[in-house]
Symmetry: D2
Subunit: 336 residues, 4 copies
């Protein structure tokens, strides 16, 4: 039994993670931290009543190390990097839900996050936790940077196109739509029900922090510089991301069927990626760890259309997938 | 042109009021107050862009009196009663959206609101602004207590039954369902989108402050003591209230058609109350000042089923209706 | 491995059932029937892509008997009773999602469903599949009448009150609110998105077919005649039922805490029933097989407030729970 | 008083039109047609109870001509073109909500709509009813082609860019998101509540019929061939369209402020178009005839972001605007 601590357990990704881990035959949740709450977890998350009877606690690294073998951190950016070294030093494995270890460059981090990185030396050495692309690097790691939700939805369909040189790398537009749980659980004027119900809006246009993450990973995947325009939208639903990308065809004579076949082949051994013919809806995948992808050619561009659950494949499910890899369990454990 | 000041202009009822008044040929909005905001109103309410170009201001009573003939107060409870006397002394008319002048008794007020009433002497002398029942008292008044949203939805269908002695007055159950805008615009954990989307819950069971208001007004209407059980629910929609009441039949031989006829006759001259045959949905009346009512007899009880828009007939529309009465305009002005 | 056939596999309860059974270590889905569709199941239910690769087929009883040990029937009323005898004769076990075997009386069936019962001799001998109340009767049965969604939500909180003689049995009001999936998947004007979004309405007032089912089962539980008024509502959400019942207190001196303790004791060994202190929301239990219940005393009445997922505890989860009992698996298998 | 007939009065655009016209001081609705319904209009549209007391009728052109001066046609494509000539011959004015007279070419019509145009000679001579661009052509017309909802949302922000040669005309991507009312009121599997609630999906990718309409009108506006990629999405909300377009900058040195200033100047006399600084949400404009537009420059492309209400500025409000122009009323009558 692997003992698990979850840092920052009051939010939606932590809740989803707990629900998944409660189904895991080899994981036991032993500590839940919060800087503000000390209530039993079922007071903060009533859906856990009768399922988990821990309290939230404000715990230092030493105490966490005593109680857990593996830490999932749902802390805000820089908070994980502030505590991760102490946990790693004590031999724990750490899966970070945040952005602290996703970018390779401390400069890029500072540019987009506005602060100095607290653990800059580790940047570039931490595997990006998208097993479909980086499984071999995750195996044996002690720290994994769990991907952002938008990046997962955008990278899975685009990486094979770039690897196969099907599209121009410097003219990719990604238009993504996310459910409101992506904005977190903390009350704000933006997420009050009557503000975002019956409403759709673009936000973070040109400034969303997932932009450099998507570029960097696609660049790694494709081997050449990638330029993207990324526009996220707040959509009136709890969960789910739909990403539509528009890339300029580079390879002549490419057909829709060739693209779909290439993707089918690329992901043929992946249990969580399905290449589909019909246009998918987010509802096809919410509450699962799956990604459905299809493609269309329109007006000289390749449209890739993909759907995931932002809280599962875009966060907690991917984290459990990484956990399974780190500890040698079958990768689909607790995820089917 | 009647000059209008709106106190507490940042919320949803104020927004709805402004939209209605912008259609009123004899009203001009001249002042908007807020204790916190000083921005142009279209920054706080982007839907007013190009429609109203006032700023929010923190104004004392003297200044309001200089700029306005009539004040609509959307302030929280006790705040209106703290400023109303000064406005009335200066000759303004005041329509209070809050509960300050709805109850007749300072003791009842203290019991349910937990504080002493700042202007207790006026209690019992202020007309309750439900024109369908109290029009004659509103005419000529200088201060009107605009009804609560749940009370309007419950009182309109029940008052005729009590006046006609159709039902037992001491055994009335009211089960009401409201859209989330009824909870106001201020962010809170209860109204964050992913908390109340895809969810319905009862709240304030046995403790909601509209309980004594409904009892008192039904008592006034029916002439005998009324006992109610009132259960409100938070429903995943922006606006609308559906109230279903269950009353014990008192009058023998009563049929559904007799009840509907009695109501049709009772409200025959009312432009905003419709007695309908089919079961109504809140969607039939949202974005209008209308109330649709029907009735069924089931298992020895009369069920009254009514729908209103909580922000219009339940708040701002009723306020404009009262405004029209106070200033002698046709009652439906700006409300059709 | 128990081989499973699902009859009427195009709807929402069948989809939910398939998702649950795919997690069951001892169940294998081997046949899916439909009278209209012959497509692969993932065309009809895209969320099953890569998870189940059967086609829908129009199969006679003999063929079903060859392929399956256990049949879950999601067919409309009378259709299960038309095929069940042939399946039972061939030694299969049958779990009926419909109403065919829930009522004890063919006359009551005819009164509420408007048709003669095709298998009337069996009525009164089939266990009602609510394990929390009738587990001993389900064990060893070959046919189980899976409960209706509203009845489950209403019976679980009320049965202990009636058994303990806490409330008057002849004056119970049940006001229930359900998500739209309860209305099925077939397109109709009532369930078109813009008709039921942003809208709540009562329907089937005094006429809903779950009325006699609730009465009969509560009567069985409490041992005396029960009279209910039942009002269901269509609520703008996918799934979830909230039921609030209002019963007159019979036992003097009863307190809220005594009621909660009684229920806690009554359900102390039940893995899927939780007695909670705070008012629950449907969101606490959707996507689970759980029922959360609380109680309040208001104005001389006991209010019982309960929430379930209409598709799981109200249908497919309960069916799997019954399946586990019928075949001797731990009752929570595939349901946690 | 202009007498109005509405053809195809059972749908959502007709309902919205009736609500607008009921506020119009110079319009009287005198006939409502339907091929299927003959009920009073308030049975089909309960929200009109007490507001309009006509019945739906199946009326031939001669009868319509006797009762009306102006016809608003909400009929499906080709149905308006089948009856319009008879109405025009009798001196009526006709405003077509459908696509019959929007395209200039019968060949393009046949390509996208799959049928021959029943009144092809008129194509190219009917003004496109977007007053902000074609007001002078609408004045004095007897037939107006009311624009499609997506085209209005896309053309208003893009036309000024093309007229000013700010962007490349052959590389424009338009990603639009619409509420479900845009799919009409007829029940279908696509629009059943639980299919489209909590779900977003792209549809009609590369094939949506508004594609040639947008291209043609932008070409007319900009004077050069326009190539667009247009992707519509079904969004879980009743109404509202958000369109985000991505165009390649042509003019060097262009700044965001220059673009916004150009648009402000372009639309400075238009009562229904607002150029805003902040990113708009559909909620800013639903239930109004307004369009809010902003712009951002990202990665060498101009993003135009616009919002409208698909049923008002995208259909019925625009129709009333055209009606006001045709009959010489102030253009904002009944629309503020």
């Amino acid at each position: 039994m692997v003992k698990i601590a979850i840092l920052g357990a009051t939010g939606y990704t932590a809740l989803e993670l707990m629900k998944l881990l409660l189904r895991h035959p080899h994981a036991e949740i032993t500590a839940l931290t919060s800087r503000e709450e000390t209530a039993p977890v079922n007071i903060v998350h009533p859906s856990l009543t009768g399922r988990l009877s821990l309290r939230l606690e404000n715990l230092p690294a030493e105490e966490i190390a005593k109680r857990a073998d593996c830490v999932f951190s749902c802390l805000p950016h820089t908070a994980t990097a502030a505590i991760a070294p102490a946990l790693l030093d004590r031999g724990l494995k750490v899966i970070d839900f945040g952005a602290d270890y996703r970018l390779d460059s401390a400069d890029v981090f500072k540019k987009w996050y506005g602060v100095d990185h607290p653990d800059a030396d580790r940047l570039g050495k931490v595997p990006y936790g998208l097993p479909e692309l980086f499984r071999s690097k995750i195996i044996g790691a002690s720290l994994v940077a769990n991907p952002g939700c938008y990046p997962t939805s955008a990278i899975l369909p685009l990486a094979p196109l770039l690897k196969n040189d099907f599209v121009e790398a410097d003219d990719i537009i990604i238009d993504s739509k996310s459910g409101v749980s992506g904005a977190g659980r903390k009350p704000s004027m933006k997420t009050v029900y009557p503000e975002c119900n019956e409403a759709i809006s673009a936000y973070g246009v040109g400034t969303h922090r997932h932009t450099p993450e998507i570029s960097q990973i696609l660049q790694t995947a494709g081997g050449k510089e990638v330029k993207i325009i990324f526009t996220p939208h707040l959509t009136p639903m709890d969960r789910g991301i739909l990403s539509v990308s528009y890339s300029k065809i580079k390879k002549e004579g490419l057909t829709q069927e060739m693209i779909l076949d290439t993707l089918r082949n690329f992901y043929k051994d992946e249990p969580f990626v399905q290449i589909v013919d019909a246009l998918p809806t987010t509802k096809d995948v919410i509450h699962t760890n799956r990604c459905h992808i299809t493609s269309r050619i329109v007006g000289g561009r390749i449209l890739m259309i993909s759907v995931i659950d932002n809280l599962i494949k875009g966060a907690s499910g991917a984290a459990v997938q990484n956990f399974n890899i780190l500890f040698g369990f079958p990768e689909t454990t607790a995820l089917l």
